[in-house]
Amino acid sequence: MDRETRRFLEEFRCNQATPIENNLIDELVNGELDRTEFLRRGAMFGLSVGVMSSALALVGDATAAPQGSFAGAAESVKVGGTVRVGLAKWGGSLEPYKLAEAGSLGMSGIPGEYLTYSDNNNQIRPWLAASWKASKGATVWTFQLRKGVKFHNGQEMTADDVVANFKLYTGNKQSQALSIFEGILGPAGVVKKGRYTVEFRLKQATGAFPYLVSQTGYQLIIVPKSIKPDTWVKSGMIGTGPFKLKNFTEKRQYNLVRHEQYWGGRPPLDGVKVTAYETSTAMALALRAGQLDIVSAVSRLEAQPFIGNKKFRVLTLPTAAHRQFTMRADDPALKDPRVRRAVALTINRPQLIEGLLRGAATLGNDTPFWTKYPSAASVAKRQRNIATAKQLLSAAGAQDLGFTITTHRLQELPDYAAAIQRYGREAGIDIKIEVQSDAEYYGGGDDYYATTPWINKPATITEWGHRAVPNVYLTAAYASNGIWNAPHYKNAKLDAAIKSYLSAVDLQTQRKYSKVISAITQRDVPIVTAYHFTSVTPVAAKVRNFQLESINHVRLAKTWLA
């Protein structure tokens, strides 16, 4: 390593680096972090490419840090053409702060963009924010915005826009983003510090804040502050994205054209035609018939005929999306943790993944941590063990256990319940199944949280979407006062571990608390997580430089048609 680089690094470490950043470099030097992890964490905390490669050089790694997220491929890109995209029909609004459905978030996410990007390796990258720094123990985050980003109407994106947007997202009573920032950030904490500088003052230390403002918080689109709430669609869905809205037929078809002044470089495609489909069946059929090029998501079964078909490529992407099979810790039949653990032990997870899910899933071990989360400590794999299950049941005096699983009619949920029913039978457990309509399952009376079935029935199975970090899972489903804590499981030790995990800034500490949390959840099993979904989606073979997104966004900035 040459003297220049060493001097540069030392200068940085003495004069500029925050304690967090220094700590990170220390961990790298001490061998506690490998290269990939260092890059991931470094990006998250806003270390510049230069600093990161210098640090890596310090430990003898000569390869440069990876480029930004939007670099195009090296092959010869063909410019031109309109790509036809299919999305699931949505019933609600396209207004960013109201986004709540897969179809609408996909639609708004084409002309709209976000501050940061959580990529498919769970690495956080700059997007509309060029860099960021944490200080005061991760309670104050300062974001530097990218300069020269032009909205579709020609205006430049500045801190004024970001501040106005985030005040709305964290403050408006109908904002769907409130759950992301619950107890973490309020409108008063969003402050402009300069033309391109925004400061977020958090109510509690959050090491993963940049993840929270990434595209996985799909409401957080940056729009011009001059656009009043509820007028975004009418005024043309103005954003910073590679394509801008030309015309549309409400909820049916949207035509977009290239945004010539796109900050990431001129997009190869001329335009995008988006069609909303009533059912994924109709959408899959349209793709097969060659009337679509890209679809947002189809079921694993619907993807079957595309496998091996030369006209299509089938893309796969493991995600953290999962089903929570909850058992109430205060239900007379289920209150003994040995009983719940017994139920968890009857499930044949590999068989489920191979059979029911046709291989499109990764193993779940009854913890909130998806194995691909960097902060996930390694845990014992859950194996099926009927003998142990029976022992646990008799130890708990529950040899004739019987209970009802309540779920709703979505994708494979009823069949998953049927499989659990059959597995339980082998240990002598009598399980009944109740399948409700969506409206009933998610409906509720005046006191919603006390009456809605999905949070209150003795045993439920509910679908949870992908999150880049497990924060929401922890605070909403596992914490004692979590608003979506269906098992009604209250454990002070778990709460303490969760709190420590959330405020931890370095990987070591996160892993330590992750291990504590996992030990508790594997022992007491408030929630059974048997698998995490792998998205399997076909795309027309002529579409190049396109990859799946973990929450069904469709990103087309560098996509081209062969």
């Binding site: 019933g91 609600g92 609004s93 109201k98 709540a100 459905e101 009573k173 109908q174 904002s175 769907q176 409130l178 759950s179 509820d230 037929t249 409400e250 909820k251 049916r252 078809q253 069609t275 489909y277 009533e278 059912t279 069946t281 109709a282 959408m283 059929l285 349209a286 097969r288 018939a289 009337q291 969506d438 409206a439 998610y442 409906g443 509720g444 009376g445 919603y448 809605t452 999905w454 979506w484």
Partner: protein, 317 residues
């Protein structure tokens, strides 16, 4: 004849009024929160209260009904609760779409099934009769979602002759539109074929046996004239009656087919608004559908009256 028409109009008006009360009552049955359905399962209590107040869903039912009817009569259907768009802008294209599909299905099925029914009736109890009847019976017994997907597989995926969804681009000409609507229309035609053919067949058999037919033969008229003049007209009467009763299904009962072909018809639109507890769209959708069906039935009744000499020349009804 005029009295007949007026009486029919009057009855239709009363029926419409009753329908509005029933429909409104139905939509008020939707329990719980409009807000919950629209804002989603993860919305907060505050968000929901704010929304409910904003759209006036927290007022008493009678007030909402009167308000609504006043608007309906004036042509103002209000705004959708789920999106902020005017109800009419959501329903109008849906109704037009449903009418187009129904019209095309009608045009396909009526001539074919009448011809089939006549052929079967004239050759009653022979092999051809049996085949036609059994074909019709089997097709109408198969659920339309199954025949639909088989049609799609064969004609769009494997043969590639027709478009897979019934959705065309803005400004497409009638030719393209028909091409897109062909498969769903055939799907519907298959369901109705057996039903209409059977009624026609029964009418033909009855007419062939009737006195006036025998008289016509004895008079020396050729077969096809006999058929055209006597048998046909009398076979058409019950057919018309039956077709009129199928209107509500043809226009509003197709939501499964509409889903499959990604076609924005009124049936599907009503289904969606029921799911989202979008009162305004749901109520207006049901009422407009009712108006449509009543109009078609009225027209069918009038044509029936014209064809049926007993009514045309006035006798107790």
């Amino acid at each position: 004849m005029l009295r007949y028409i007026l009486k029919r109009l009057g009855l239709a008006a009363i029926t419409l009024f009753l329908l509005s009360v029933i429909v409104f009552g139905l939509s008020q049955l939707l329990p719980g929160n409009v807000a919950r359905a629209v804002l989603g399962q993860f919305a907060t209590q505050e968000a929901m209260d704010s929304f409910n107040h904003q759209v006036g869903a927290d007022r008493p039912a009678i007030v909402q009904y009167l308000d609504y009817m006043r608007g309906f009569v004036q042509g103002d259907l209000g705004l959708s609760l789920a999106s902020e768009a005017p109800v009419w802008s959501i329903l109008e294209p849906a109704i037009i779409n449903s009418l187009k599909l129904a019209a095309l299905a009608f045009v396909i099925v009526v001539p074919l099934s009448i011809l089939g029914g006549i052929a079967a009736g004239l050759r009653a109890d022979t092999g051809s009769d049996r085949s036609i009847t059994i074909f019709g019976l089997s097709m109408s017994a198969m659920p339309e979602f199954v025949t639909g997907i088989i049609l799609i597989l064969v004609f769009t995926i494997w043969l590639g002759w027709l478009p897979v969804t019934a959705q065309w681009d803005e400004g497409a000409g009638p030719g393209t539109q028909i091409k897109h609507l062909l498969l769903p229309s055939v799907c519907l035609a298959l369901v109705l074929f057996g039903y209409i053919a059977r009624i026609t067949r029964a009418g033909v058999i009855e007419a062939v046996d009737a006195d006036y037919t025998r008289t016509a033969y004895l008079k020396g008229l050729p077969t096809h004239t006999v058929i055209r003049r006597h048998v046909l007209r009398n076979a058409l009467l019950p057919t018309l009656a039956v077709v009129a009763t199928q209107t509500s299904y043809l226009v509003g009962g197709l939501l499964i087919v509409e889903q499959l072909f990604n076609y924005q018809g009124i049936g599907l639109q009503i289904y969606l608004s029921a799911q989202q507890k979008d009162f305004t769209v749901l109520t207006s959708g049901l009422l407009l559908l009712g108006v449509l069906v009543l109009i078609v039935t009225l027209v069918a009744d009038i044509v029936y009256g014209l064809l049926n000499p007993r009514i045309r020349f006035g006798s107790a009804e």
